[in-house]
Amino acid sequence: MSEEHYLELCENPVQFEHASSVNNVFFDEANKQVFAVRSGGATGVVVKGPDDKSSVAFRMDDKGEVKCIKFSIGNKILAVQRTSKSVVFPDKRSLKLLKSQSINVNWYQYCPETAVILLSTTVQGNILQPFAFRSGTMSKMSKFEIELPVVPKPAKLSLSERDIAMATIYGQLHVMYLKHHSRTANSTSAEVVLYHLPREGACKKSHVLKLNTTGKFALNIVDNLVVVHHQSSQTSLIFDIKLKEPDCAVNTHQPVLPARSIHPYRIPLSGPAVVPSQPPVPCQLYSSSWSVFQPDIIISASEGYLWYLQVKLPPTVNLLQDKGKLMDFLLRRRDCKMVILSVCSQSTRGVLPVVATVFDKLNQVYKEYLEAEQSYTVAMESGPSRGSAAQKRPVRTQAVIDQSDMYTHVLSSFTERKGVSHKFIIAVLMEYIRSLNQFQITVQHYLYELVIKTLVQHNLFYMLHQFLQYHVLSDSKPLACLLLSLESTYPPAHQLSLDMLKVSLARCSSQITVPSLETRCCSTRCSGRSSRETSG
């Protein structure tokens, strides 16, 4: 069953002293730091973040219960809140009021990555007003309404802070709403509704994620996937908002994979622990003491751990039967290369239509990258353009699988596999070549060489001949030389190689001497024979 867990907690969590009667734990979402405050700070405050090599420890006077405590970037300035209306900076500094706004707010949420704050307004609380902070200014964004499943009468606060989260998915800011009861009559299960919040313009409802169950949920975002944790079943679901569902309404999504629990976790024996090493115990997943923070953080205050949630791609391969959908899913993930190559290898044990689909999916991405590279090269060569921003060099993600990758990891070993019919081997190779051609990608000559070698190995000369006749195996000098070398096994290769040399030479103007070419004795006879002319 361990093969089926596609989510896991990171290996090296941040450890801190667990919450207790004397120790309060605070988490700063912006810097992702955990503050363990003992006795109001009198006996010590230990600050630990995932990027910190070691923890920061200090003391401060116990001036009452700490409600909130944070550091600025670089741990330069400490801010402590002890009352509901004041914030204390222990070091004397000066503050300047930049802007003020007067609104009735029920609650707020702040997204540090995008520097956007979301305020819940109105009695029902479902009109959300975002503000964006940018280079010292605060600008009002368009407010929007969250559709409530039930309109309460009389009006009361119906949208809780717990049901809203903000996250960046595929580079776009979304507001996620955990809707517990759908308004539609025939469905009582929960769903997550995504609202796309653009920098400029109106916020619109963009996606609906069907959970097909009810209960308590928590949300994370990992590798552009929406992860929904379900406490009662102790499982999680993932959604990819770019996967199109053929059977559902537009922008409605079902989970990509069947629900599975996060990979079982054993607390490590050693680690950069503040307190003495705790004995290894299996960690209780989905516990009620878990707190989930955006985008991918899970904290267990009672045990003293901060984890990053991660996706494990290899188990997804066997859980998704539709290989086209699997490829669409994998090609959007960060560390996908080796998994995709394993899917390719696996598909060569199946049927041709699936092989064709798999190849087409990855070549689509490969082509897009090649085109981006090419337009960048052209832009660079034509010099800096007037006014427009400098083009960024396209990044080659792991999803770009080129011919060299396919050759090395998939095709080369496939052609050597025992017990496979030679017709099938050739069919798979030709399918890859067809796919490359379909996307107008130039086929590398070593692939043609592989085809020729395989055809010759199995004495499929009549196939070789036909492929060459139709120039399916593109003419090139290396191929022509390979054909010449085959002459002893297959005499017609001589004619084929001469033809190919002629075409290849015509393309480039250089002369090539091929030592193994025998000059043929050619006689030209010319006769002025007249036929039976019946003229006298």
Binding site: K423, Y470, H471, V472, Q495, C522, R525, C526
Partner: protein, 475 residues
């Protein structure tokens, strides 16, 4: 031209055609047993025996001079006989009849005109090839003579020969046999790489889904695109398809909408596919059907296969399945469902590509050149001289005399292994150029007033550069 002389066109037909095996009646009085097939059958028995005996004698006689290569033809004053021994001791003899093969040459001094027989008009190679083709065609549908002997002795063999040749000889049109019969080539359909790969993909997928299929061939417009069979088998199958099967089915297709000849629409509006062999109407569960059986060579012998020919618009796919398998209606429905839609799509793709290519390459650059091209290696042939090739007619746009010259040049080529070029000045303004380079032969007919050798040579070079720019011809 001398006055009063007439030169008539020669139009050969079949005088006689017989098959014999001398070992079946070696003794005196048993001669009739040697004869396995004789056309025309109404000829008197003794005459049959005499004719066979003569051939036997000639062959025996010539064997003394060359044991390995006995006589191929016999030239007499009035006619020719062509011999072919396809299997040990089995002989096929063909005697064409040339209606007017004599010329009356008026003599001076009031003597009766001398009759000259136009012996040279007839090329051995052409009719020798026709005899071979007769055997190949028989073998395609019946297997070897030896196989019939094993299965049912002389009786079975004579039955099969009678059944096959009685019909086949009626389709022989000797007057239209020419150099192309010597080649027995295959015309390939020109196609761009992408469409070719799509067809490959289609063939591979069908063979995978319907694992019973052993071999596939794909044709478009009577031209071959892909063959899963070895060359020799494909070449005779191709001849059968293009001269017999396709013409038989294309006439109804061309018929008008209301014509009773129009093939019954399968009722399937999803695709245009239908069976050319086998079930004509899949919807009728009572209708019986069978597929023709063919024999193709394998490593160590022959295998018998069902021949399924399935067509959608101008694309035809041949599927060959082992004859030991019984093909049911369900299988045909499965094939129809799988292949019909895909083949229809492919056919329209090919048509589209072809139209695009023609537009790109501009107006026909061919008409100015009359040529025949043949490559011994892949049997690819191309002719701008021959028009529509059907079972009944094969029109050529050049004078038969010129075709004869082509045949002569071909004979010359066959005699030596080396590459050659032969230029012939024919009658009036015609020049014929034959070029042989490494298994390829090219024949060009040029009609140029007052041209000389150098100009002709240049013209041919130009042709090679434009039409055959990706083929290496030694100059």
């Amino acid at each position: 031209m001398a006055s009063g002389m007439q030169e008539k066109q020669y139009t050969p037909s079949l005088l006689s055609f017989f098959i014999y095996n001398p070992t079946f009646g070696p003794r005196e009085g048993e001669e009739e047993k040697k004869i396995l097939f004789y056309h025309p059958s109404e000829v008197e028995k003794n005459e049959k025996i005499r004719n066979v005996g003569l051939c036997e004698a000639i062959v025996q006689f010539t064997r003394t001079f060359c044991p390995t290569k006995p006589a191929k033809s016999l030239h007499t004053q009035k006619n020719r006989q062509f011999f072919f021994e396809p299997e040990d001791n089995f002989w096929i003899v063909m005697v064409p009849w040339f209606e007017t093969q004599c010329i009356e040459k008026p003599n001076k001094d009031g003597k009766p005109p001398t009759i000259e027989y136009q012996e040279e008009e007839i090329l051995d190679t052409v009719y020798g090839a026709v005899v071979r083709q007769c055997y190949s065609m028989y073998k395609l549908f019946n297997g070897t003579f030896g196989r019939a002997m094993e299965a049912g002795g002389v009786e079975l063999l004579t039955q099969k020969l009678e059944k096959f040749f009685y019909r086949y000889l009626q389709t022989l049109h000797l007057q239209s046999c020419d150099l192309l019969d010597v080649f027995g080539g295959i015309s390939f359909f020109p196609l761009d790489k992408m469409t070719y790969l799509k067809i490959q993909s289609f063939v591979n997928k069908v063979e995978e889904s319907l694992s019973l299929i052993k071999y596939t061939a794909f044709l478009y417009n009577d031209q071959l695109i892909w063959s899963g069979l070895e060359q020799d088998d494909m070449r005779i199958l191709y001849k059968y398809l293009t001269t017999s099967l396709f013409p038989r089915h294309s006439e109804p297709e061309l018929a008008g909408r209301d014509s009773p000849l129009r093939p019954e629409v399968a009722g399937n509006l999803l695709h245009y596919g239908r069976f050319l062999t086998g079930p004509t109407n899949l919807k009728d569960p009572e209708a019986k059907f069978r597929f023709p059986k063919i024999f193709v060579s394998t490593g160590d012998g022959y295998e018998e296969l069902h021949l399924i020919v399935y067509k959608a618009m101008s694309a035809a796919a041949c599927f060959m399945i082992s004859a030991s398998v019984e093909l049911t209606r369900e299988f045909c429905e499965q094939l129809d469902g799988l292949v019909g839609p895909q083949l229809t799509l492919l056919a329209s793709d090919i048509c589209e590509q072809f139209t695009i290519n023609r537009r790109i390459s501009g107006p026909e650059k061919e008409p100015q050149f009359k040529f025949i091209y043949f490559n011994h290696m892949n049997l690819a042939e191309k002719s701008t001289i021959h028009m529509r090739k059907t079972a009944s007619v094969c029109l050529t746009s050049v004078h038969p005399d010129l075709m004869k010259i082509l045949g002569d040049i071909n004979c010359d080529f066959a005699r030596v292994d080396e590459d050659e070029e032969i230029i012939v000045k024919a009658m009036t303004d015609y020049w014929v150029v034959g070029k042989k380079s490494d298994q390829r032969e090219l024949y060009v007919i040029l009609n140029q007033k007052n041209a000389n050798l150098i100009e002709v040579n240049e013209e041919v070079k130009r042709l090679c550069a434009t039409q055959f720019n990706n083929i290496f011809f030694l100059d």
